[in-house]
């Protein structure tokens, strides 16, 4: 009994600034608005069975994000998407709802990478950016430090970068496209790559285009 659904959704504009937790609560409410009853985990504090392929960082838009959910009662697929899409906040869009066999491994375990597109700030020189990208590509390691909960952690950014490149410009603003490792061992952060390229991530517009699976 029950049903496992995979939902493809996009977020942009104002909704890009939601934290992972806020986005999760938004979806729980969206399912209740649709009248769907979620399965709950067992245990002392049961929570709804709801999982994302990979959390989106705050400030990053997403074109094709994935979410899986387990329902108590199966929903007819042809109506499910419409029902869900009816009452969504303006800048979160349901793109697809499909059924997934229960035995398929969890999406977050099958993820290998994610592709990002970044609009860099006006005034950034494309040539200088190309030089920086060339340096990153050629480097064998890129030691960086991250402060997390007060503790500084050193790590190597280079193995997290599968590819990075500068593309044609839009309105004089160069685009950076990158594919970053995103798997059980960790996720490459687009803002860290931008910092390595000498850009201020707060001035960039970052979109996660797609998630890549094995």
């Amino acid at each position: 009994m029950g049903q496992r659904l995979r939902i493809t959704f996009a977020r942009g504009g104002r909704a890009s600034y939601l934290s992972h937790l806020e986005l999760m609560r938004m979806w729980e409410r969206a399912f209740r608005r649709a009248g769907w009853r979620l399965q709950y985990s067992q245990g002392f504090s049961p929570h709804p069975r709801l999982s994302f392929a990979a959390p989106l960082p705050v400030g990053v838009a997403g074109e094709a994000e994935l979410l899986e959910v387990y329902l108590e009662e199966p929903q007819p697929l042809d109506r499910a998407q419409q029902r869900l899409a009816q009452r969504m906040p303006p800048e979160i869009e349901v793109r697809e709802v499909e059924e997934v066999p229960a035995e398929e491994p969890a999406i977050q375990r099958r993820m290998v990478a994610a592709e990002y597109l970044v609009v860099v700030p006006e005034g950034a020189s494309p040539d200088a950016l190309r030089t920086e990208v060339g340096r990153v590509q050629a480097a064998s390691s890129l030691p960086r430090e991250r402060i997390r909960e007060g503790a500084t952690r050193s790590y190597d950014l280079r193995p997290m970068i599968h590819s990075v490149g500068v593309e044609r410009c839009i309105d004089g603003r160069p685009l950076v496209r990158m594919t970053l490792r995103t798997d059980a061992r960790g996720a490459g952060r687009p803002d860290e790559v931008l910092r390595e390229l000498g850009l201020d991530p707060a001035e960039c517009r970052i979109t996660r285009l797609r998630l890549l699976f094995e």
């Binding site: 909704a15 806020e22 609560r25 409410r29 705050v58 400030g59």
Partner: protein, 608 residues
């Protein structure tokens, strides 16, 4: 439109500033005749929990020719960025600077948000003093419980709406729209002529326009009208019948303080607790039919996706439809799929059984407010709760599976003695004994203590707050006398309760203190990490006042009070009678079940 994309990645919790929530309303700016920004002068997550503003937002936006948007106080980090980059305060929906609106409507429900209100005017690019604003600026108005003593904030606002805001706000917006249409504009941007507008507005019931009054000089006394046609006493506005709840309220992305659907089931309370301002200023009691409440809950759940709804009122157990609503909800949402919360639990077993039927018995503890430790003192405050009520309530709670009970008490009440304090301890031990019979060693009794803050329009308005040093001694005494397994005493009231008391019963002179405190950097006074008692003390001193003296000041019964030009319908004579009865520990019954006590509301509003 203000560009904040460069700011959002640099601040904590950007969802406070983004807007774009489900059910937020974006109207075509030029399609309406009048526009209001509804403002709560605290953080987004606090302001979004305010039912009053939700009601007004819904009402205004249901009118095709009117528009309402929202704004809240940005946190320190966002404010710094906004000031650094010259970004003015903006509305969440259209991100327009607030100064482009016709009206800025503030909700003033807590004295500790006053400096935020001034700060928001400044962030919006407006002079904070009404006398320095002109035809280029929006009209700045305020409502909420602090409007019942408007003097401390009077110089900053063009007008106050005293009482229920539903009808008055629409009338003010229509008036504004009409005067703009008639071309009676004073400013270059097609704004209304301020003075003409304010004169018209002053004729509306419940509207107080400070600039049309001469403030009393020095301490005491009340403002006097400057011209004919301006009412000497402003009577609070009352709506005869409560309208439907906002059925499509804005659903915040980030967690609000009250993160649930809200349905107001009744307004007003007649229990007559003598310390309680709300119990006096929202009379008469107006109930909503149970069928309407159930219909609203149903709509709300499907429009929001909340899994919890709060039945809002000052005393929901007194609402005559409460059992019908509880029964129907149990059938409609089995297995507590929708939790129902009661914001205030009466101290009796009826209320406990009600709470039990509405939500999962083991979720959290139950809170009761006996308010005082002895029967004598409970009679002084007219709590109307007996020892048997208290024991019955907690026994029911433990029997139904709760093991944790929180008890709320007030200290610094008139006539309070050491025996009354020891009574709190005796009660705590007694309740622990009852609990142990059911919950054994899991029994937890949390005693929570707060100081009385005398407020205008309540029978204790003439009392002073107990000196802060004495309050601390009393708390220490309680902490010494209430200890042992399963017992704890909580006192979370910092010196801000002294400030609240000093501001609440202030007069026109208090406004200079508030202005100084804001200039000195005070804001977010309700937030312990931002509260600066030293700056406030200095601000009072600079105006020749002492913050402690102001908090502790007593008024004489025959004295003119700074809020005597505001009428709640409850007569001063009734309040004085209640105050005298308090000092003799005489109870006054709830007129809802017994005879009329002639509080004045029936006479004033032609019914109750």
């Amino acid at each position: 439109m203000v560009d904040i994309d460069g700011l959002l990645p640099r601040v904590t919790k950007p969802a406070r500033y983004t807007g774009g929530e489900l059910n937020s309303v974006r109207k075509e700016w030029d399609s309406v005749s009048a526009r209001v920004a509804l403002i709560y002068p605290d953080l987004y997550e606090v302001g979004m929990s305010n039912l009053g503003l939700q009601i007004l937002y819904d009402l205004v936006n249901r009118e095709p020719d009117l528009l309402a948007e929202r704004a809240y106080a940005p946190w320190i980090d966002m404010e710094a960025l906004m000031r650094e980059r010259g970004v003015p305060l903006f509305s969440l929906e259209s991100r327009r600077p607030l100064r482009e609106f016709d009206l800025l409507g503030f909700s003033l429900s807590l004295e500790l948000t006053h400096t935020n209100a001034l700060n928001l005017l400044d962030l919006a690019g407006l002079p904070v003093l009404a006398s320095q604003r002109d035809g280029h600026h929006p009209l700045v108005i305020a409502g909420g419980s602090c409007a019942y003593n408007p003097e401390p904030m009077a110089p900053f606002f063009d007008l106050f709406v005293v009482g229920d805001g539903e009808e008055a706000l629409l009338e003010l917006m229509r008036l504004c729209g009409r005067m703009k249409g008639e071309g009676r504009s004073g400013g270059p941007d097609g704004r209304v002529d301020r003075n003409a507008f304010l004169r018209e507005a002053a004729k509306l019931e419940g509207v107080y326009v400070p600039s049309l009054y001469r403030p009393s000089e020095g301490a005491g006394g009340k403002p006097v009208p400057l011209e004919p046609g301006v009412p000497e006493v402003v009577r609070a506005r009352r709506i005869a019948r409560l309208g439907a709840s906002p059925l499509k309220p804005v659903v915040p992305f980030m967690e609000a303080v009250h993160d649930r659907a809200m349905v107001e089931v009744q307004r007003g309370c007649t229990r007559g607790c003598r310390f309680c301002q709300a119990g006096m200023i929202y009379r008469p009691v107006r109930e909503r039919p149970a069928a309407e409440v159930l219909h609203d809950i149903d709509c709300l759940i499907s429009a929001t996706g909340y899994d919890e709804v709060s039945l809002v009122s000052l005393s929901t157990a007194d609402y005559s439809g409460v059992e019908e609503v509880a029964r129907a909800l149990a059938v409609q949402y089995p297995e507590h799929r929708v939790k129902v919360s009661l914001p205030s639990l009466r101290v009796d077993s009826f209320s406990v059984n009600l709470a039990h039927s509405l939500k999962d018995a083991y979720g959290g503890g139950l809170t009761f407010a006996p308010e005082a430790g002895t029967q004598r003192l409970r009679d002084v405050i007219n709590k109307g709760v007996t020892q048997e009520d208290i024991e019955g309530a907690v026994e029911s709670a433990f029997a139904l599976g709760w093991s944790s009970v929180k008890l709320y008490f007030m200290i610094g009440l008139p006539t309070e003695t050491e025996d009354d304090l020891d009574g709190i301890a005796r009660l705590a031990y007694r309740i622990r004994d009852i609990g142990r019979r059911y919950a054994g060693n899991r029994t937890r009794i949390k005693v929570s203590v707060g100081a009385l803050i005398p407020k205008p329009h309540a029978p204790f308005q003439w009392c002073g707050q107990e000196p802060y040093g004495r309050i601390k001694e009393k708390v220490a005494r309680l902490q010494r006398s209430i200890r042992g397994p399963g017992l704890s005493v909580g006192w979370h009231e910092p010196e801000s309760s002294v400030l609240e008391a000093a501001l609440a019963r202030g007069d026109r002179r208090t406004s200079s203190v508030i202005y100084r405190a804001w200039k000195a950097g005070c804001r977010f006074d309700a937030w312990a990490e931002q509260f600066r008692f030293d700056l406030w003390r200095d601000a009072f001193a600079s105006e020749g006042m002492d913050i402690h003296v102001e908090a502790e000041k007593r008024f004489l019964l025959e004295e003119v009070l700074p809020w005597d030009h505001i009428s709640t319908g409850v007569s001063k004579r009734f309040l004085a009678r209640e105050y005298r009865r308090a000092l003799k520990a005489e109870l006054s019954p709830d007129c809802r079940w017994g005879k009329c006590l002639a509080c004045g509301v029936r006479k004033s509003y032609g019914g109750c």
